[in-house]
């Protein structure tokens, strides 16, 4: 039995709808998993784990994030600073706050220190902040993945 050769059809129009559906699903998935607080993260820092750490219910008011690496260098907003430089930076921050009529006491200094950082360096950071009138600190820890969360 012989088939007649199919005539070559020039216009082939596949149904695009399922593909577009899947594509949109993917877009929505990646959009929702997008981490918006990415500027607060630093790949170099391995936070210590704590079973009691849980994300704060409300956002911290005007946070200043200090990142402390295991080598003892401090990062503020992507720039590497030494502790004496940090003092002048904090002073500028404080002046900016006073200009806006806010008390530095209300600001929170978030300290993200590496688990192998020295305790004394963390204390020195706190000291430097205290000298500029900051008194609220938040030591950041990673949530323990093994404990049940409410």
């Amino acid at each position: 039995m012989q088939y007649a050769p199919q005539p070559y059809s020039a216009s082939c129009d596949p149904d695009m709808t399922p593909m577009i559906d899947v594509t949109f699903q993917l877009i929505i998935f990646f959009l929702l998993t997008l981490n918006f607080s990415m500027d607060q993260q630093n790949e170099m820092i391995k936070l210590p784990i704590s079973e009691l750490a849980k994300p704060p219910e409300e956002a911290v008011s005007s946070p200043i994030t200090l990142q402390l690496t295991s080598e003892g260098t401090v990062f503020v907003g992507g720039d590497e600073v030494t502790i004496p430089n940090l003092r002048s930076l904090l002073l500028r921050e404080k002046e900016a706050m006073t200009r806006e009529r806010r008390n530095p006491r209300e600001a929170t200094v978030v300290i993200r220190a590496d688990q192998n950082a020295r305790a004394g360096v963390v204390q020195e950071l706190i000291r430097a902040c205290q000298e500029n009138g900051f008194e609220r600190f938040a030591l950041r820890a990673k949530q323990d993945p093994n404990v049940p969360q409410s």
């Binding site: 990646f30 981490n35 402390l68 978030v110 305790a119 204390q123 205290q130 990673k142």
Partner: protein
Amino acid sequence: MKFALASEQPVRVSMNMMPMIDVCFQLIIFFMLSLRLFSPEGDFNINMPMAAPTAAVASPDQIPIMKVRLRARADGELAAVQFGDRLLGKQSLEELHRVVATMNAELAEAATATQRQEIVDRLELLRSEVCRKVFQPLRQEVRKMVGDKAGPGAENTELELDCDYHLKYVYVMEAITAVSGYREGKEVTTLVGKIKFTPPRRL
């Protein structure tokens, strides 16, 4: 003026999907590349004014400030936990030092960076488990001091942490976790509301 009559057969208008699909793929690729999965993080709040107003009016029902001293070995590992003037968790500390010793020995033998990473990951888990055991007696002591009247009153209890300069921060965090509260299932009970640090000890 006359309009041409619409043809009787309906004309199938197919939209050109190509630009839309292109844009969609661009978006997918953008979101895919910016995808980084982080485990959630939490904070421990510490309120430390410059001049600590200690020795204020001590009301009779107020618990005196508890003092916790963490001593470090030369390599930054935890050497001793002291609550007031009592040493705590000696046996578990020996276990901790054994874990650290195995970690260092295995790290010395590791050849590649991936091997090192694997060893570090495995033994850090073990270390945090032992650490929890080390700080368990401290938590018991604090619970005894607070009288376990956990809840609203607990926010006013104060504790002072005194750490050696080169102690690794991970132990500080474990100590803070141990004293600030405990977890029973999903319930977290606060023990100490105010944690403070002493001024840094110079080397």
